[in-house]
Symmetry: C2
Subunit: 509 residues, 2 copies
């Protein structure tokens, strides 16, 4: 059959358009939503059939492909393609066993992850896998198998150095853009830190979303390798490097369900670090009443799972448990967070001190991976690099290498529509709900709308008077602003009380 591009964007789902009177469609017993395999020029893709009754869209002897599918197949319009019913994914039996609550073996998880990476799973099968592995349904051996399978499926980078450092936070704390400070600091110290980060899954911004305000993050692998060689670090999106293609597919169903189970979190994080070539990792687990992890015993349990899997994978891991009672920094949303990061790098007096301090401590831990640095000296070295402006220069070099975009932290391009939420009474800020603040920022449009989000005007322990603004919400679209306003009216995310009511946590930093 001759292939034809149908100019419909079906967003990451390959759709094949076949006319109802098409001979192949009838002979093969296809039906709407059948999965078919299309082969041309040595490539093969899977696509879902939509049946067409309009000869203007596809003719009887044509196979229409949606925009993504057409690009993926990579042939010219009119090229002759072969079409066949797709066989069910090989790993279906293993998936059904997991749904039934059974324990999977190494080969089972290899087969599942391979099928997922090759887009052989439908949305239904993907979701079933994610939900069946939710909570504690994976034991630690299965988590290792899953991580290992994810590494085996993707590309793996080799930096040809014995020490490749990285940091990662399990997430759940709005703001918290420490990576964008830690990378330039440790790179300026001379450590190799090729940071590949993720986009937001359920949060208002991931490091990749925020870095994208300043520079291009979707870098071809060769560029990324050159930048790291030249500058000892980078801040890129992990997706283009195809480090863990299965994980990127899984995220597409985890996101709408706000699912983030321990097993999948550990496998996702560690597999990407191994694939990125890291040898040493500092992992940040924040705890607090509205953080992902609510108590120290829970944090310790998660730490042990990370440590077990890291050891099986041969990764040197240092877990730090940090203060997750409130957002880190002031801005929440890509542009707002980029503003905070640049202010810290510029030693601007308006820079949020919590973001500065946490970043210095994390950078200090990583610097102590350097065999020439004495234990306990890391923090002072990091501070010196930041205060001297060397971190800023390194960041500017990385930004320029990644194709810098114009950005002025004195005049960030925030969403033009905005409103403020004010203190209902005199008192002290006694609680900030990470999840509610994140929800409001997302409803306002973050991260899709870069300038949207929440700008916090006071933090835990600050004294406020009735009517004083607590935070400002920015949006680009009236509908988004209205959703955010309704949500903040329902729950502002702030509790104003007495100083005694501020929750305490006892953490490393």
């Amino acid at each position: 059959m001759a292939v034809r591009r149908v100019a419909i964007d079906t967003w990451r789902e390959n759709v094949a358009y076949l006319h109802r009177d098409c001979a192949v469609y009838r002979a093969e017993g296809f039906q709407a939503l059948s999965k078919i395999e299309v082969r041309a020029n040595g490539r093969r893709i899977l696509a879902t059939v939509n049946v067409v009754d309009d000869l203007g869209i596809v003719a009887c002897d044509e196979l229409g492909l949606s925009e993504d599918a057409f690009a993926l197949l990579g042939v010219e319009a009119g090229y002759k393609v072969a079409v066949a019913q797709a066989e069910p994914p090989e790993s279906m039996g293993a998936l059904f066993r997991k749904i039934a609550g059974e324990r999977l073996q190494r080969e089972d998880l290899r087969a599942i992850v391979r099928d997922i990476a090759e887009h052989r799973y439908s949305k239904i099968e993907l979701t079933a896998f994610v939900v069946a592995c939710n909570r504690d349904e994976l034991d630690r051996e299965e988590v290792f198998f899953l991580s290992d399978a994810m590494v085996a499926t993707g590309q793996r980078l080799d930096w040809h150095e014995g020490l490749v450092v990285d940091k990662h936070c399990i997430g759940g704390i709005p703001g918290n853009r420490t990576s964008m400070l830690v990378v330039p600091i440790v790179a300026a110290h001379g450590l190799l830190c090729p940071k590949t980060s993720s986009r937001a899954i359920t949060s208002p911004a991931g490091t990749a979303d925020t870095m994208e305000v300043l520079a291009n993050v979707e870098l071809p692998l060769q560029d990324l390798q050159r930048i790291v060689r030249d500058h000892r670090g980078c801040l890129a999106w992990g997706g283009t490097a195809q480090l863990s293609p299965a994980d990127d597919v899984l995220i597409s169903v985890e996101r709408p369900l706000s699912i983030d189970s321990p097993g999948q979190m550990v496998a996702s994080i560690l597999s990407k670090k191994i694939a990125a070539g890291s040898t040493h990792l500092v992992l940040d687990i924040p705890i607090g009443p509205t953080a992902k992890v609510r108590s120290m015993p829970e944090a310790q349990r998660l730490r042990r799972l990370f440590e077990y899997v890291a050891r099986r994978l041969g990764l040197s891991l240092d877990v730090v448990i940090t203060d997750g009672r409130q957002p880190i920094g002031n801005g929440i949303g890509p542009v707002l967070e980029a503003r905070d990061v640049m202010r810290v790098l510029e030693n601007d007096p308006r820079a949020p001190n919590d973001l500065r301090q946490k970043s210095l401590r994390l950078a200090g831990r990583l610097i102590e991976c350097d065999p020439d640095v004495r234990g306990g000296d890391g923090y002072a070295i990091a501070r010196d690099i930041l205060d001297s402006g060397r971190a800023l220069s390194r960041m500017q070099a990385i930004i320029a290498a990644q194709g810098g975009k114009a950005f002025d932290h004195n005049h960030p391009r925030l969403g033009a529509l905005h409103f403020e939420v004010c203190a209902p009474a005199d008192g002290v800020v006694a609680g900030i709900d990470n999840q509610q603040i994140a929800r409001i920022a997302r409803l306002a449009g973050a991260p899709k709308v870069q300038g949207a989000g929440v700008d916090l005007l006071c933090k835990l322990g600050d004294a406020v008077v009735s009517g004083q603004p607590l935070y400002r919400v920015h949006a680009d679209f009236p509908a988004d602003l209205e959703f955010a306003r309704q949500s903040s009216a329902h729950g502002s995310g702030y509790r104003v009380g007495t100083a005694d009511e501020v929750p305490r946590v006892f953490v490393e930093f």
Copy 2:
């Protein structure tokens, strides 16, 4: 915006096609796969956005709708419609709590079921609900809440009689078309038996699929009510009556995952019976090594769950545990099963005796719901009705009323392509794997291809000689035949051994 029909069949998913340069698309911040709400003439539908880059498909000021969506909205092309971003389903919070393993309340399940019935859930959300309620994740109170919510969401029939009987089997046994015999028998006795059955979920044929060979099963509600009034029974598909619309949606994701959890099974079956107006139900739970239920303790556990929920719903329930070691009848697939049913009704010597006996016993149990019948007399009454030809006449009347189709059980229209699977050695048929036989029949094309399926030529305990055909597989399409052949080569589903190896079960009948 003016609405336009886009002649693409997206099969039960509403798709809206918006041009990328469309003003509404840009102003509202829609993106591909956004859910939008389309309102016109008092109706509203939800649809998923596909972005179009071809003005030939939709113009900038037009909203394209896929065939189903266009039909559902029910307005003329060119009609002005209002479009807005769909709000997330109200029950999302309850869904997330279930995913997190929490117990749901009555109102939670009402909200979830309402959103599902109104097609507000994406495939991802639907699958997450199904998998999160899988296995024993619903306690018996939640199963009652779910059943009750399903009844509340759909239409409910009222027959204005005190005694309305029905029978149901939990499934898993290929063939087993007892309903098509029980209904004419008990209707001929005078009991009201308005049978609304399902299509196959994971099996090669449901009662509705098989009845469809003989008559129309998609009946408008008024026709169905008239037929039941005239003939005391019917054999219709439950879907058109909208008895449990949420269940029909759930089945669309349960089917590809082969999920059939106790809680969902009980809710699905009992809600449909209550909605269909039944007061008395005989429920068949077959047990056997390859049946859905493998052991007597498991059957008793399931029986208690059915009994608990039935009592809460006010339904009089009689559970019978039956022999599920092998298929019932010879044919597996719509046409083959219709052939067996008609042969039993016609008292044809080729009629499968196991199907006849089981149907008579089930019909006898139902007949004993009649207060004028003494306990133990039901079977003989049923046999007399069948042997006298009164069951056949009643079935013929029902078939005619439902728009009978030409069918000759002496010359059924079987798939023209076929092959036989033969005994590998002399011996006795010592095992038949229900699941493998069902799988082969499905691969051969059943139930989509009515004449496809498996025709069993011998059953448990039969002596066979090497090379003697065990069963014959029929298909219409070469690809289907090949899939079935590969599967039967991998595992025939038959075990030939000694008479001692035939598994025993001790059941009511």
